[in-house]
């Protein structure tokens, strides 16, 4: 039943195939990517891997779901088109959790992704290395970048941490831009109000190259930030960022106390301590701040994302495209829903089914007020929390005033732990995690900024990697990347 790690081998790409056979990062390899004709373009000859929930005209887009196993979209996502036009070539599609739902990249019809990171203590001893999760849901993208399978960059998507968490686990840079900056046209919806296209690279300057080309207003995305809003945000960001010379005097870095929860592994503290000390020694001010609504964020996130998922995934009924399971001859065909149920039961994995049911319940007449509306209220509070601590005003809210002594960015651990081991039995990937909430807890530090939709960057340290996150005001992507570069340079 389970397919091989990569169904679509190419004869040209032996090295990739060999790597992929171990990692299972790529689920489709373009056997002869078109030679770039853009000789002087920004992304000249960049070989890019794209998460399998971003539509590509020339390759399948399966979303790691049985439902879309054979699906090939009739169009390219806007972000794919922009990068192709900029000179990049797409080498293939990366593994992910089904429709982006998961934190460990184990809920995939293609099987789990193996974390390619080799910690210093086991280098040179490949056979004793334990298999760890690459994180999810953009685990394939993170693994491909970390293992140098694509040049520098891969596209992922981030709804509740799906770029940032795998970046932390694999020890690379994961960038979730502000919501609405990169077009979602052609990105298969999981939860529309949270979904973002993210960029995974090994160096922050590579993020910048891709982001510059991809962050363009697209009239086909009704949630895209308008050019005027982008300009306002850009100017606000520029006017608040201090001019750094040799010191970081004037840079105010907030450390949110709620981001050190009980679940945090003690060892996860050392990277952020190191970074904070280094920043302080170069003149930055470290300021403790409070985001009091944080504890409610995870529940609110799962209510909202599941509700939207239950709505967005209603379209997979086996009629227009995708998998279709015919009914047994004696089946009750009187109701359309009965007919669809066959296809949907077979086509969706357990995790997706679970979230559809959760979301359907949250939207039902009895639960709507207590779950969906309550979660929206929490979302508003979280957003207000962030607006209160940043010095840059939020250009999206007309009434927003910034804190006089507010911080430029926030810094906190990217995950509560390093990459967890993969379950031994690869074949039972659908049941790989227990039914408990362990899986969801991985997102606890990433979700709040998703609900508020802010940019994010990762830095690594330690034996198994462990990220440090930089969070900024909406539209302050440049500021976050700049601080990220500073942190990157501290390590070198």
């Amino acid at each position: 039943m389970n397919p091989g790690p990569c169904q679509y081998y190419s004869t040209q790409t032996t090295r990739l195939e060999q790597q992929n056979a171990t990692l299972n990062a790529l689920v489709y390899l373009d056997s002869n990517p078109p030679a770039s004709v853009h000789t002087r373009s920004l992304l000249n000859d960049l070989k890019l891997a794209v998460k399998d929930n971003i539509c590509t005209r020339s390759m399948p887009t399966t979303c790691s779901s049985m439902m879309l196993r054979e699906f090939q979209p009739p169009f390219d996502a806007t972000v794919v088109k922009l990068l192709r036009d900029g000179g990049a070539s797409i080498i293939g599609k990366t593994n992910c959790d089904e429709f982006g739902m998961g934190s460990l990249n184990v809920h995939s019809v293609h099987g789990p992704v193996v974390n390619p990171y080799i910690p210093p203590f086991s280098r040179g001893k490949p056979f004793c290395q334990e298999q760890r999760s690459a994180g999810g849901s953009s685990g394939g993208s993170a693994a491909a970048v970390a293992a140098h399978m694509c040049d520098e960059s891969a596209l992922g998507t981030d709804t509740g941490g799906s770029v940032r968490l795998p970046a932390s686990y694999c020890g690379i840079v994961g960038f979730k831009p502000s919501y609405g900056l990169i077009s979602r046209w052609g990105v298969v919806s999981y939860a529309d109000s949270l979904d973002c296209v993210g960029i995974l690279t090994r160096k922050i300057r590579d993020v910048m190259r891709v982001f510059e080309l991809a962050s363009v207003y697209d009239p086909k995305d009704p949630t895209a930030a308008r050019p005027a809003t982008r300009t306002r945000a850009f100017e606000a960001c520029k006017s608040y960022l201090p001019q750094f010379t040799s010191t970081l005097t004037g840079l105010r870095i907030g450390v949110p106390q709620e981001y050190f929860p009980a679940e945090l592994q003690p060892s996860a503290l050392s990277p952020i301590r190191t970074v904070l000390e280094a920043l302080k020694s170069r003149g930055a001010s470290i300021i403790p701040v409070s985001l009091p609504s944080t504890p409610y964020a995870l529940s609110a996130y799962y209510v909202i994302s599941s509700a939207e998922a239950s709505s967005n995934l209603a379209r997979y009924d086996g009629v227009e495209y995708g998998l279709r399971i015919d009914l047994a001859p004696d089946a009750d065909k009187t109701k359309t829903a009965n007919v669809y149920a066959h296809t949907r039961t077979r086509g969706f994995g357990k995790e997706v089914q679970k979230r559809i049911l959760l979301g359907t319940y949250a939207l039902s007449a009895d639960a709507f007020e207590n779950y969906f509306l309550q979660a929206q209220r929490v979302r508003k509070l979280i957003r207000a929390d962030f607006d209160r601590v940043f010095c840059v005003p939020n250009v999206l809210t007309t009434a927003s005033t910034s804190a006089v002594d507010g911080v430029h960015v926030l810094l906190h651990p990217s995950a509560i732990r390093t990459a967890p081991p993969l379950p031994n039995d690869k074949d039972s990937h659908q049941e790989a995690t227990p039914d408990g909430l362990d899986d969801y807890v991985q997102d606890v530090l990433n979700v709040p900024a998703s609900l508020a939709a802010f940019p994010w960057v990762w830095r690594q340290k330690d034996e198994w990697p462990m990220g440090v996150s930089v969070v900024g005001q909406w539209g302050c992507d440049e500021m976050v990347l700049k601080v990220g570069e500073i942190i990157e340079s501290l390590q070198e």
Binding site: C55, P73, A77, Y179, W185, S193, T223, T397
Partner: protein, 558 residues
Amino acid sequence: MAEDEGRTKVVGTNRLDKLHGKVDYTPGPANAELLCLLSPARLAQISICSLMEIYVRLVHTIRTLKEDPRWPGWELVVGIEVHAQIKSRAKLFSETFTADLDEPPNSHVSPFDAAFPGTLPRLNSKCVELGVRTAIALNAEVQRRSAFDRKHYFYADLPSGYQITQQYAPIARGGGLKLDRDDVFVRIKQVQLEQDTGKSAFLPRNHLSAIDLNRAGTGLMEIVSEPDMRSPEEAADYVRTLQALLRCVGSSDGHMEQGSLRCDVNVSVNRAGSPPGTRCEIKNLNSVKFMMIAITCEAHRQIELLESGRSVPQETRGFDEDRAETYALRSKEDAPDYRYMPDPNLPPLLLDQEYITKIRNDMPELPDMTRARLLALDLSRRDTDVLMDVDSGREVGFDGELGGGAVAYFDSVARGRDPKAVVNWITHELLGQLAFRRETFKENPISVEQMGNLIDLVQTGTITGTSGKTILRHLLSNHSQDMPSKLAEQLLLIAVRDDGSSLEKWCSEAISALPEEAKIVRTGNVRVVNKIVGRVMKASRGRANAEDVRAMLLKMLQ
């Protein structure tokens, strides 16, 4: 129109206010008290127009029960939800062109219409404009902020599994429609924009459902009335008046037979003087005639239940046209939970006052005003009715494009001319000839300039009325682009103006040709002169004026 720029992230939270507000709008059953509640100062601020409206509503609310011989002692209460397809070139959220009924199935379908993964909606501003136009025509309050919601259910002709509609924050609220008869005023509760579905047809022979997505995603306006109608006839009058209004503002062509206007009707009955009864909704009525039959038999059914001591269960019913009866579709308990959710892809629709004012200023004239204006030109009621009837049958253009109707034609021709003469030529001669040729006004080949020129020729006596009609027929048969003045010359129809010498000649010839008749006239039987007049008219090929001929003949035969 402005969309909520850049506020996309808070869409959900901002909508909360509105979601909470779902109870804060209570459509005004308390209108009767409205006048009493208004202070004199407030009253002074209210324009005469709105006072009139309040008055009309007041009249309605305290409307006395009119005994209906079909159900003596009972009162019938009807409210109607009309779904009118927006006559826009493209669909509501995609750039696909809307389809005509005769086009091949699934020939107007984009990836978005078929709910392909990765596609996103994009609001068609033309649909918004037509929705606002309709709201203004209904005197409704256009909402500066409205929002789109998803209504979920699984059906084969709904590819995405949800319909985008405006459940919580519709584009317009309030307003009403005055019916022609009996001064009935029907209040409007709200107007909302939403998507139409595709069509599915079951093919029993091979046990398959055929799905056509041509219609999927076409814009609809759902226009919800208050339960202000009291008879099947009033319901019919409401739908017809609304139809004419939609056609007039160009927002829908309102063809019930073709499905571009569909009605769901809420019916309840109560004993005279008692509070309203439990209502049943009859779904998907697609002709005014069937709607009246459905309401009538539903009233009888409910009265029968109540009179036998049973109660009317609240339910949704269908209508069987062949058996002329309604049947239960589902009870209140079986009502599906549509799991409404604010659409996370569509920012709230924000309309600024300037935009609304511009549409208001560019509004086409509404039927009531047109009627009043035409009557003020001293046209007869009959001529006015004929013009407006023909006008309401005109083709409705896409995206609110106006013009081309009989009234516009009349207005253009009448500019600088005698309106009564013009309306005579249009309603009697032009429409008469078109009807004779079994053509509609749409097929009229005579331009405004040609018609004006023709009327001028007759009015100035350059040609006779008879010649005018000849030229009219010539224009209709030959689709000639020539001006009537040129045709009059070509066809030798210029009225003779040679001091009567030609006339005298034709008359003498006619008298010689008809000696018997001449003799009878000479003896004093004047009526027979008409035959000789006819001979002269024929000889002159209409160039002679019949009155002059008659006078000349009588003089010669004295």
